[in-house]
Symmetry: C2
Subunit: 355 residues, 2 copies
């Protein structure tokens, strides 16, 4: 087993370490540091406007000459009724009053516009790698990006999703296990209407066996042990989110970093109450309050739009109880240190295991 | 990284492969085959009377001179009300009529008597290793077994459970990830009253870091890739259930083996409707029917006693819809082959990865 794989050559990186596209929490410093240390840094552009993204890309390009990636959320039609939205608006009203934030309007065009703008931008600005979460972009977009030499990464939480991504022409597949923090990349449901929730140990080899393209293992991986485990399962690299979230260069607030560093493995839940899509975070009063809501949670991006201002205000006030606290199932291994040191440490640990 | 570990020496085995104690599905042939091939075979004695267990141990001892283990369920007081039990009895009545089985009486003394009988038996019959599921036996039992030279294995689904087992004097800890099929070994709940459900990739290193005793990785592991991944995470061996369940020597019926071999990774659920304790199996009509029950599911072993005859009759009739179909999250890697070949294959794969 070697740390150098066909994928590290394909991605033009030294080490098989990918920094996950943690939308809202990456900084140009983090992205550039990971790339400069030999991994693949990634701008989490899921919530960015094209202007914001252009600024981020420019900054990353000033900080590194090496390859990096941009992660985008694939937009989908949200099914929702005004009744559901109004009911949720009412339910959130006491929190808006508590945190002194205005009642937002639902805007279904923004996601699509931002996404299409981002696609043009990554082409114009010569971003070498684009990663997608929440599904498969259409063939027009895939062909446009690939014809411009851009390498495409997709996110799968089941074999079915992985083979669909491969069939659509995606070059590399992230197998996102149930341990992963933040949003689930799922875009299918099973017969019971549930999105897949398969542990990394199970998911990676089953996807590896069913696709020809390289696979990146994600979910629960924090250190050199996880890196070697991911490679042993047949992955060509690993993707780490929570591990980078607590580093100095991460854009996560001290409040959020402290929440992760103080948590244990039993304290996270998977919930769609924050955004309308399933995501793993540390349970808090926001989750308990929304779990008592007796209506239907509007789908993403509606619920996300309805709750964003409350969550920001709570975090700004230093209150971790009404903001999201994305975190995977391995918080005990999270460390407060520089991202550059973290990459060095992971590689040193992996080499020792492989001796 | 080496396949020979301090634990393989401690357990007197050649390879770091433990066959999980799949209560109801082990046979003396399976247990002896795994031990004879260099792993640790295990009698799943969770539902056995002392007489049955004595017979099984005798048969295993006739088939191998090597060490093997016995897995026992640690009894606990079940909280239940007659009202809950009566309501469940009524709800199950149509199934009893369909499958022509009698309404059982609840018996809370049997579990404790069987457990105490099994403890005496393993001492008398010189069983070298005893493994526990569902908690920690009392100090009297732990001391009695250890003073007779018996090595003790406990099952943990969180760090808290692992440290509790270690403090009680248990020698080796199985870290059972959420991918695992069959019963969850959990004996704690979090603030929300949920039992831990931590993926193997997250659970193993967090437990390894917090205990001094050797750790066995379990959950989702089916082949040489999983074995190497488990060792990379810091475990000293791996435990496989589903992988052995479909082997020729397993006691699982053809119906149950076929269900696993035809499943994919999205088809299992964790449910307590079969036994009153959480367990992972392939979803079927029994699960959907019981999910519509609007009362409280009686705790283990009550619910287990109430549903056992129905499940047996359904399986005997060749109907997989009203029996339990224990299965982990990696059914795509399940194989129909001899257990001896499976062990050989796992070791050959692991050696190739480690080259």
């Amino acid at each position: 087993m070697k740390l150098e794989t066909a994928l590290t050559h394909q991605l033009n990186i030294k080490y098989p370490i990918i920094q996950a596209g943690m939308a809202g929490s990456t900084t140009p410093e983090l992205v550039a540091t990971v790339s400069n240390k030999g991994g693949l840094g990634m701008i989490g552009a899921g919530y960015m406007s094209p202007d914001q993204l252009a600024e981020e890309i420019t900054q990353v390009q000033e900080l590194t000459d090496l390859d990096f990636a941009v992660n985008l959320f694939v937009p989908a039609d949200a099914r929702y009724s005004s009744d559901d939205v109004n009911k949720m608006q009412e339910y959130l009203q006491p929190l808006r009053e508590e945190y002194d934030v205005a009642r937002p309007e639902v805007d279904m065009t923004k996601e699509e516009d931002n996404f299409n703008g981002a696609i043009e931008l990554v082409v114009q600005m010569h971003v070498p790698v684009v990663s997608f979460t929440f599904g498969i972009p259409n063939q027009h977009i895939i062909k446009r990006l690939k014809s411009n030499g851009i390498t495409l990464i997709g996110t799968a939480t089941s074999v079915e999703e992985a083979t669909a991504l491969e069939s659509a022409g995606i070059d590399i597949i992230v197998a996102q296990g149930s341990e992963a923090g933040g949003h689930r990349g799922s875009f299918t449901v099973n017969e019971q209407g549930h999105t897949p929730l398969i542990g990394t140990m199970s998911l990676v080899p089953q996807i590896v066996d069913q696709v020809e393209v390289p696979v990146i293992a994600a979910g629960g991986i924090m250190d050199g042990r996880g890196l070697v485990a991911g490679l042993a399962l047949g992955a060509s690299a690993v993707q780490l989110g929570t591990a980078f979230l607590t580093t100095d260069e991460s854009g996560a607030s001290q409040l959020k970093k402290a929440s992760i560093l103080q948590s244990d493995e039993t304290q996270t839940v998977i919930t769609h109450v924050y955004s309308g899509k399933m995501a793993r975070g540390i349970s808090n009063q926001f989750v308990s309050y929304l779990n008592q809501f007796d209506g239907r949670i509007p789908e993403y991006p509606i619920q996300n739009q309805l709750t964003t201002a409350i969550r920001k205000a709570s975090a700004q006030r230093g209150d971790e109880q009404f903001t999201h606290l994305w975190c995977g199932q391995t918080p005990r291994l999270a460390q407060s240190k520089r991202a550059s040191e973290l990459v060095d440490q992971i590689i040193a640990e992996a080499r020792k295991i492989l001796e």
